[in-house]
Symmetry: C2
Subunit: 512 residues, 2 copies
């Protein structure tokens, strides 16, 4: 009940409802409006920056839209609101309209597919529909897409730093309440292979991962036992999934030797030991030393799971340090790197260094009485913050090698295939680029209808398919753009026609 009221259609900012009532009072609540969702800039984490984002959150947004309704509890809540003078804030006729029409049945969403690589300043989603309901949709849409895109992006960076090794999402204890479930999902989309979050793993059909904490070893020691006894107990219960945390007492003096003893016992009993986990200290150094001892004992393939404040930069540094130092201890750096697994917690689920994506949802057009689309914009914005007015389409242009070379915003109905393309910087005048047909191998329309007629336009998409989209897009992205520090800037552009519409409107408002 509590969660229902706070997570249904009232999961919105109050001003959306205040505006909806105003539109109703003015008789313009059913006027068709166009809102664009875009983010303004790639996350800048301070010492490192993203050169692309991974779009996530759409499936859950659509799931929310399917059930969000002004039911009895919601209407009673709104009816209870009063002004400072004690008068009802919401009028009966408006509440009756909400009860009958306060759903997303007449809204249409055009969107990029979830999991795709995306870039700033271009409309990833356009919501079209009655002004009142497209307005009420704003907060939930932003909430779903901003956070999951932020986390999928961070996960993709972590996965790139890990160079193909398995990344585990471990962050639920430090993330934002139940938001960690969305965060775990986004991490899985962005590049984490598994999560420690049991509940969401089952919802998504992914195997949850986790072995044991220091407390397990401590519980044995407190009872007069030893670390070795604790490890043996673990191996008895989990002989085929035996990952032992080796830093409760002393990593190299106690943990690793005890783990090797248990691994030898497991091997003799016909089981394959899975690995060890290091959760403190100099992880690169300890990984080398642990690998050396494991190798010497014949366990050359057991995993070495690293955790403790990891993020893309720490992983990158650990791998660099291993490359420099491993040799000195007779350990092969590449073979060690290949057996590493990364448990990434707080810094992934909170997007360390940049805790929010600056996505916005802006009114770009309202249809007039004749159904003509009238572009609109907020003039006081700095040019970089001004959304592109009007009804538009989003395209991705691939160069002769098949790599994505630009995302281009065109007006709806514009044809981009087989012609010379003149592309402009979205807001810096004078910056343009011309692509001849010979320089372009493919022009891809990036958005489709994902919501229409009160429901999803296509059946719900599996996590695996969403993950595959990211992988496919990354293979067609310039490696410079994928760099985790100082990436190349990907080209985001508008067509000649979009520029004309925007400049005309700007002049019109400024002059009018």
């Amino acid at each position: 009940m509590r969660a229902d009221l706070a997570e249904g259609i009232l999961f919105t900012d109050q001003y959306q409802l205040a505006m909806a009532q105003l539109y109703f009072a003015e008789g313009i609540h059913d006027r068709r409006a166009h809102f664009d969702y875009s983010f303004r800039s790639y996350p800048d984490y301070g010492r490192h920056q993203a050169g692309y984002c991974v779009y996530a959150g759409l499936e859950w947004l659509l799931g929310w839209m399917e059930t969000a309704r002004f039911g009895g509890a919601e209407l009673a809540a709104l009816r209870s609101q009063t002004t400072s003078r004690g008068a009802p804030r919401f009028r009966t006729d408006f509440l009756e309209w909400l009860e009958a029409e306060g759903h997303f049945g007449a809204v249409e969403l055009h969107s990029v597919a979830e999991g795709r690589v995306v870039h700033p300043l271009v409309p990833l989603v356009t919501a079209t529909g009655p002004l009142a309901m497209t307005q009420i949709l704003e907060t939930s849409l932003l909430n779903h897409l901003n956070y999951q895109t932020l986390i999928a992006t961070k996960a993709s960076r972590v996965a790139e730093a890990a160079r193909g090794s398995v990344v585990l999402e471990f962050g639920m204890r430090r993330g934002a309440a139940t938001g960690v479930n969305a965060g775990a999902r986004a991490a899985l989309i962005g590049g984490a292979r598994f999560t420690s979050n049991t509940g969401i793993s089952h919802v998504l059909g992914v195997d949850p991962k986790g072995t044991h904490a220091h407390s397990m070893v401590q519980a044995f020691i407190a009872r007069g036992g030893t670390e070795l006894e604790a490890f043996r107990a673990f191996a008895r219960v989990y002989p085929d999934e035996c990952v032992l945390l080796v830093d409760t007492v002393d990593t190299l003096e106690s943990g690793v030797p005890n783990a090797i003893t248990v691994f030898e016992e497991l091997a003799r009993a016909g089981h394959e030991p899975l690995g060890i986990r290091l959760d403190s200290g100099d992880l690169a150094y300890l990984a080398i030393q642990a690998a050396r001892r494991l190798d010497a004992a014949g366990f050359t393939d057991t995993q070495i799971v690293l955790s403790n404040s990891l993020d893309e930069l720490n992983i990158w540094q650990i791998l660099s340090q291993i490359e420099e130092e491993a040799d000195r201890y007779g350990v092969d750096a590449s073979r060690l790197a290949a057996r590493l697994v990364y448990g990434v917690g707080t810094r992934l689920i909170t997007s360390h260094g940049r805790g929010a994506l600056d996505g916005v949802y802006k009114l770009v057009a309202v249809e007039d009485d004749a159904g003509l689309v009238v572009p609109t914009m907020k003039l006081s914005d700095t040019p970089g913050k001004q959304p592109i007015p009007g009804s538009k389409e989003l395209w991705r242009i691939y160069d002769a090698r098949g790599n994505a070379t630009a995302d281009a915003v065109a007006m709806a109905g514009e044809q981009l295939e087989g012609i010379e393309l003149r592309l402009h910087h979205p807001h810096r005048a004078g910056l343009s680029r011309t692509l001849s047909p010979g320089e372009v191998s493919e022009v891809e329309r990036l958005r489709d209808v994902v919501w229409a007629g009160g429901g999803r336009a296509e059946a719900s998409v599996s996590l695996d398919l969403i993950r595959a989209r990211r992988v496919a897009d990354l293979t067609r992205l310039d490696p410079g753009v994928r760099r985790i520090i100082g990436p190349h800037i990907y080209h985001v552009s508008i067509t000649e026609e979009v520029r004309r519409v925007r400049d005309d409107l700007r002049a019109g408002i400024a002059g009018g």
Copy 2:
């Protein structure tokens, strides 16, 4: 259904369940264990640092514990888990035990009261109970307390920077999915007066706040209307709650004059205009200029709501700038400061600069067969990370002026009143302080039983009471500790007896 499975008892890390099964297999799942919750350091936001935290999340944690159960769906999920060899990961006898005993009926929680000012390195909560269930509790406890304490702390800093002015929580569009509901609650505990989040406002019994966005004005302009017509429409629907957003076209040339026109019309009709909102540009400068124009028109008390990337530092800077510049324009700085209201969004809900509290939940004791409490600790930690072993109590010591001067951890049963107190730094040897009875006005036991016998020890506490606790604690906190930049370090201490127990144990483990 989806949310149920991911937010009930399976809202936990997989390794808690793996360890619980191990404890069950070893026959020690019912052994009473003691786990302490503490955080390691105040949030450090980079350019500024917290000198205290506001403890939040407890009520929601208890609410979760009331309903979290291994029901049919949860058991079916666990039954479906298999090892890499295809064997069931969880055994039937363990699942049967979970079904019968997998609840928090035998767990007891001692905790500080929600809303209290708290400090690092001391046990804010101790969970005592069967090893398996206190272990399973870990993730959810950390999740609830870490995030809400983080946000309540940030909100308290924002409220202090705002010097008594109203702070509104505006962050749901950029926060972490449904976690924003917990974040809004924590912000309200920490010092935000209201939130824009409609649903959670109704759950908590707080009036949701919000007026209109730029889109409302744009919708009028797109239809051939004007900003003034949009403002008039708003005033017609909300004559007694009229806050107008003045920066859609041009703040000082259009927005403010139009707002004044509408305010004059409202005043003539017997209504009191509420205020304007500024959401872009140099907020300090614009607030001065807007105040000047509003004053000249006789609207000397209407609010000026500021929003756009605010946090404690920006608010502090805005007020400093107003103090320096207002005079030059004939505006009284203090009167202007008193009419300001702050809408704080992204940077509050994500705790900008420090996105997580480093709270941990550590096994500190296990009872032996005779019921004796055996302290335990993880030796490999650096001293600052080592929790204090054993069964303990937490006290706050007030100096002769009645100000809090130290929080002290004592062993359970130690008496601290009316004696000379010798207090040690928690981990730095040689740092100690002695307080004579004459220097101490009060010694307060900070923790009480909050959960026992399968339910709350006391009835659920209202938000107002929780908020009042923070306010009361702040009045007894040294102003230097409350500074938002470079605060004084509050004394966190352990008693002579705690030091002895810890040193003995350390020597015992190291030697044994």
